[in-house]
């Protein structure tokens, strides 16, 4: 079974790498950020699988931290970097 877990984890890592294309491509900042969000979910699944493959349950805590912090980065992006500013509205 351990081999199988590693295999699925490798597959997930490959989908993560494929998603990098969207980070480079954009076109809007939101698209890049979404790709990062997707990486977070994929990494959580990957970590859970590795935890099972190595028989190291404590790796799940790393996945938990990922799950908690994925939202922090995305919210920082929306509220700080990408918010609608008053001057933008005036310029439109």
């Amino acid at each position: 079974m351990a081999v199988f877990y590693s295999g699925v984890a490798l597959f997930l890592l490959l989908t993560l790498v494929a998603g990098l294309w969207r980070v480079l491509q954009g076109p809007t900042p939101a698209d890049r950020m979404l790709a990062a969000q997707l990486f977070g979910t994929t990494a959580v699944a990957c970590l859970l699988l590795l935890a099972q493959a190595f028989g190291r349950p404590h790796l799940r805590d790393v996945a938990l931290v990922f799950a908690l912090l994925a939202a922090v980065t995305a919210v920082a992006f929306v509220r700080r970097t990408w918010t609608v500013r008053e001057e933008d509205d005036a310029a439109d």
Partner: protein, 99 residues
């Protein structure tokens, strides 16, 4: 091979399929909103299936609970983030792609 192992195998494979679908959607869909659809649904279902597969192998009730907690957290985070991003995108004047 036991029945639980077989079920885990099936669930993990299905989960991996949904992750692939999420990435394909992210790469192929035409605008932010449709990509958000791919992200929030395909990925959460993918993670849900992976978690379900691993829950069958969990060594204790607490480990099972932790796996489910992780899934719930990701679910909540991605639903809120999807809503935030979609709302801001609309306020910024990004028009939804139309056929």
């Amino acid at each position: 091979m036991q029945l639980t192992d077989f079920l885990t195998l099936l669930l993990l494979l299905a989960g991996a399929g949904f992750f692939l679908a999420g990435t394909v959607g992210l790469l192929r869909f035409p605008d932010v909103y449709t990509r958000l659809h791919a992200l929030t649904k395909a990925d959460n279902v993918g993670l849900g299936l992976v978690v379900a597969g691993l829950v069958l192998q969990a060594e204790s009730w607490a480990a099972m609970g932790k796996l489910l907690l992780i899934w719930l957290l990701v679910l909540l985070a991605s639903a809120s983030v999807a809503h935030l991003v979609a709302r801001t995108a609309l306020q910024k004047g990004i028009r939804p792609w139309k056929r």
